[in-house]
């Protein structure tokens, strides 16, 4: 088996035991990327030089028997809306095309402290606004399983990078499903932690009450490893919490004896693709065999979640994106008549259509005369959605449902209908509104050979239990071990 197919934990073991040098591994990674990336387009910026320098540093540490970090020598990709000091960070927007952050995001700092090797910055829908990675200002990322299909989004580049064996691990961000949905569509494991679990410092803001940095990995144990490395309190993010971070890998093999699984009927209703439904139902049979009990339940306000989300997320976005004015950083228009004209031209030339659409929707929902009807109304319905989960978790330990209503769809298929695109996130959005954690794990394939993902949701700060439940399924199945066949593949 080629080195590049290993899990992060396996590769770390090989590096620490000096079976392979980090510099050699990084060399292989970039060789493979150069060969396959033209077909996939997962990256906006590659960091080959920086990666090789870091790898040499780690090799030296290991040679000198110095202590190394939790992620020693593991090549990782980072979504391009997470700030990396001295490394271009574009948010896939023309408005930030030359932006070089003067600081590292909290999570990037953690990766560096733990000796991970950042290999590049991955493509996304501009400002993380989208569900297909087609809205990037630079390129369209393709699904490694079928290059005519989207990888999902908005963290499509990170999901594709892990699925295509470019990176062992990747970071993304999840505002309404942007980690879990692409993980499902690319056949990898995606975790959105509890709101407040991971610092958002250095994550370029989209919907601040919803945004959370999450992980892409090849299996559940790798997710536990990476989450442990990035979770925790940060004084630079006032919404990050002081709740202690458990050792997520401890007891991960504990099984699911006596587990009560909630099956919400609204998540198996009209609009769900039959192949996805069948795959999730078959997965549930495995939990049944493992001794879990099912509780049929209702989350009655689910049908309102998408509407609530598109008011709240866009209201927050319209405010967050007001900072792109062509003054302090980013793109500025060439000629202008006075400062207001400069703002208008800069923003009109710098933002793509989806971003403009959302800024306008958000400003509309917040504007005088409409605030109560839209923003306030949505904030109240948000309370009802959270209460649905609170009531459900009185009766069950977790909720299992599909991650996405469909497997990967064709590039261009939904691009001209924003509303249809928004409905791609129907099963992932409620967790962001309620702030609870969620994981998507591979649970099957469609007849066309596209991956299908299953979502597990738990109470706030119960990531450890969530990972344990996910691992119990993964241990019984081999969906996570399947790899896309990439043409000319030697891996």
């Amino acid at each position: 088996m080629s080195l590049l197919r290993h899990t992060a934990l396996q590769i770390k073991e090989k590096i620490i035991s000096r079976e392979i040098q980090a510099t050699k591994l990084v060399g292989q990674v970039f060789e493979w990327i150069k060969y396959i990336e033209p077909k996939i387009q997962a990256f906006i910026t590659l960091n080959e030089k920086g990666a090789l320098e870091k790898a040499a540093e780690i090799d030296k540490k290991i040679e000198n028997r110095q202590k190394v970090g939790l992620l020693a020598g593991i090549p990782i990709a980072v979504k391009d809306n997470i700030c990396t000091k001295s490394l271009n960070t574009t948010c896939a927007s023309k408005i930030l095309q030359n932006f070089i952050p003067p600081y590292d995001a909290f999570v990037v700092n953690r990766l560096k402290e733990e000796d991970a090797i950042i290999i590049g910055k991955t493509n996304l829908d501009e400002f993380a606004m989208g569900s297909s990675t087609e809205n990037s200002g630079y390129k369209i990322t393709r699904n490694p399983w079928n290059q005519n299909c989207v990888p999902g989004g908005s963290s499509g580049g990170s999901a594709a990078a892990v699925a295509a064996n470019f990176a062992f691990l990747a970071l993304g961000s999840d505002t309404g499903g942007s980690v879990r949905q692409p993980a499902a569509l690319c056949g990898v494991v995606g975790v959105k932690p509890t709101y407040g679990r991971v610092s958002r410092y250095g994550l370029i803001a989209f919907g601040s009450s919803l945004d959370q940095i999450g992980t892409f990995t090849r299996d559940v144990k790798d997710a536990a490893l990476l989450l442990h490395a990035i979770a925790g309190y940060d004084s630079y993010d006032s919404t990050s919490t002081q709740v202690s971070v458990p050792e997520y890998s401890d007891g991960i093999e504990g099984g699911t004896g006596g587990l009560r699984i909630g099956i919400p009927k609204e998540y198996f209703a009209e609009g769900l693709n039959t192949e996805v439904r069948d795959a999730v139902k078959s997965a549930l049979k495995i939990y049944e065999r493992l001794g879990a009990k099912f509780v049929e339940l209702s989350l009655p306000h689910t049908e309102y979640a998408v509407a609530v989300y598109y008011i709240i997320a866009n209201a927050e976005a319209s405010s967050n994106l007001a900072r792109y004015d062509g003054v302090k950083y980013g793109y500025r228009t060439g000629e202008s008549r006075g400062i207001i004209d400069m703002y208008c031209r800069t923003r009109s030339e710098g933002f793509g259509n989806e971003v403009k659409r959302r800024i306008m929707l958000g400003n509309y929902a917040l504007s005088s005369g409409y605030y109560d009807a839209y923003y306030l109304k949505a904030s109240k319905v948000r309370t009802l959605i959270k209460s649905d989960f609170d009531a459900a978790f009185e009766k069950v330990d977790c909720i299992i449902c599909p991650t996405s209503p469909v497997p990967a769809f064709k590039i261009g298929e939904r691009a001209n209908n924003p509303l249809e695109m928004y409905l791609s996130d129907i099963y992932t959005i409620p967790a962001n509104l309620a702030g609870i954690p969620g994981i998507s794990i591979p649970c099957g394939f469609s007849k066309a050979g596209l991956p299908i993902g299953m979502q597990i949701l738990t109470r706030h700060f119960e990531e450890k239990k969530m990972l344990q439940i996910a691992y119990a399924f993964e241990r019984e199945t081999d969906f996570h071990l399947k790899k896309p066949v990439l043409k000319g593949s030697t891996v």
Binding site: T241, R337, I339, D341, K356, A434
Partner: protein, 95 residues
Amino acid sequence: MKIERKNIEYIANLSRIELSDQEKEMFVHQLSDILSYIEKLNKLNTDNIKPMAYSLNTTNVFREDKLGQPISRDDAMFNAPSKMGVFFKVPKVIE
């Protein structure tokens, strides 16, 4: 909710975005569709429901007002599209 061209022009101005006639036409349709979808919230009675801004209970996080390690002025200004000495340079503000 039917959005009209004048609504689009009003919110585009609030958003500091300039639109061509063709773009205005496109956004009239798309925003009308989205807002019609959002109308479904009106089916719910929310009279006695408290609005929620965050999913956690944290309010008013305070800290000591101590000097940290700020980013240097040169670093902070590095990305400026136009500058003059230690200032950001912008077009004329007052006519």
